[in-house]
């Protein structure tokens, strides 16, 4: 019976040559086994190959014979110090178990639900056989850039932007929103009435303040008392300018509190 054989060309290939050339029996030419195991993706595939090579029926596997051959391959591989993945040994154990269960006396008559111990193995072998046939089918398909070519030509270089999703009402509504929300310069407007101070004047005042006691440092909070926004900004600018001109220096005071104190001290003019 030659059932369970997929389409032609399913044999394992080693370096492009079909392995059908392998001699019958268990004579394995030097290096062939290495190539053989290399080309197999795993124990299931080796098993499937053995079954096919022996022209066995995948649905009625002579487990004893297949197991014998499978183990001989494994022994041969080990004799030649080839590295075998653990799954190969796991498969050997599974085959041995199936063999043992098949040797047990037949179940009592009427127990029709009793499963053939080979059933799961058959299922998995059939699944693999199907995948191999499907892979073979894919390989036969023509491929773009090798067997056929799509035709394409250049279009224009730049496509315009897609027209935005926008109605005239959106534009008008947006304009209304802009008109009705407070504008940022309406907020500081009232501070403009405060007496204004020039940057230069503030720098002079700050230096004079620090000189009241040239030995000590002044905390920022002392130099920047409760000022309105405008004066505060000018004062900060003045301090930054004095730092830049190296008339003042900045010290970061270590503090026991969570807040770090920043102090400013006048740099004494060099003699």
């Amino acid at each position: 019976m030659s059932t369970a054989h997929g389409p032609a060309g399913q044999g394992v290939q080693v370096h492009g040559q079909p392995l059908e050339a392998l001699p019958e029996g268990l004579f394995i030419p030097p290096d062939a086994l290495e190539l053989l195991l290399d080309s197999f993706s795993g124990p299931l595939e080796l098993l499937l190959w053995l079954i096919r090579r022996n022209r066995m029926d995948i649905r009625d596997i002579p487990v004893a014979e297949v197991t014998r051959q499978y183990l001989l391959y494994l022994q041969e591989a080990r004799r030649r110090n080839l590295e075998l993945a653990a799954e190969y040994l796991l498969m050997a154990a599974w085959l041995a178990e199936i063999k043992a269960r098949m040797l047990l006396p037949a179940p009592p008559a009427g127990d029709e639900e009793e499963l053939d111990p080979r059933l799961e193995l058959v299922r998995r072998l059939e699944a693999l056989a199907q995948v191999q046939a499907q892979a073979e089918n894919l390989q036969q398909l023509p491929r773009a850039g090798q067997d056929f070519w799509m035709a394409a030509a250049m279009g224009p270089e730049h496509w315009p932007l897609p027209p935005p999703l926008l109605t005239l009402e959106n534009v008008a509504g947006t304009w209304l929103r802009i008109l009705t929300r407070p504008k940022p310069d309406e907020i500081p407007a009232h501070t403009l009435s405060q007496p204004q101070m020039g940057l230069r004047q503030r720098m002079v005042d700050l230096l004079r303040h620090c000189r009241q006691d040239a030995s000590r440092a002044w905390y920022l909070a002392e130099l920047l008392p409760d000022l309105n926004r405008h004066t505060l900004a000018i004062s900060l600018l003045a301090i930054l300018e004095l730092l830049r001109q190296q008339a003042l220096q900045l010290r970061q005071e270590e503090s026991l509190e969570w807040q770090v104190q920043i102090a400013v001290q006048e740099i004494p003019a060099h003699a």
Binding site: L138, L141, R143, A153
Partner: protein, 165 residues
């Protein structure tokens, strides 16, 4: 009309379906009769071109009679696919959508990340969802690029597997 159709097909990297063409031409009186022109193009081709059904639509392809010439230009054929890649692709194509553990079950060996990555880089497979089982494993399926690369009109055109029972 014939020219307009050719221009559309030649400018598109993807196949165009009748629905897509209908949306483009709309009721524009300038393009009345486009469907008849499409049918003629499908039947007779145009110069060195033939219109083929691929990936749920149509695409222009160079007629195979020019293959010998094109091979002289395109000396770098696409890389052959390894057995592991072909088998993994086969499981995804024929069983989709499918999780990686399911692929491994079908093939009887573990599927390494490189294989999945190679298939993704080719643009042939993509994650299309997750199976609502513990761990929510990703579900893999083939893309329309896969159909285009192998010149398939749809997944139903995948060659059927004959396994004698």
């Amino acid at each position: 009309m014939r020219e307009a159709l050719l221009a559309l097909f030649l400018s598109s990297a993807e196949s165009l379906s009748r629905e897509r063409l209908a949306a483009i031409f709309g009721d524009d009186p300038a393009y009345v009769g486009w469907e008849a022109a499409l049918d003629i193009l499908l039947a007779a081709g145009e110069g060195p071109l033939q219109l083929i059904s691929v990936a749920g639509g149509y695409r222009l392809q160079i007629h195979p009679r020019h293959r010998d010439l094109l091979v002289r230009l395109h000396v770098d054929a696409p890389r052959p696919l390894s057995k592991a890649v072909l088998e993994t692709l086969a499981v995804i194509a024929y069983q989709q959508p499918v999780t990686r553990p399911e692929i491994e079950h079908w093939r009887g060996v573990s599927v390494n990340a490189q294989i999945m990555q190679q298939l993704q880089e080719l643009g042939w497979v993509a994650v299309v969802g997750h199976r609502e089982t513990p761990g929510r494993p990703a579900l893999w399926a083939t893309t329309s690029e896969f159909l285009q690369h192998f010149g398939l009109a749809s997944l139903e055109d995948l060659p059927t597997v004959m396994l004698s029972k």
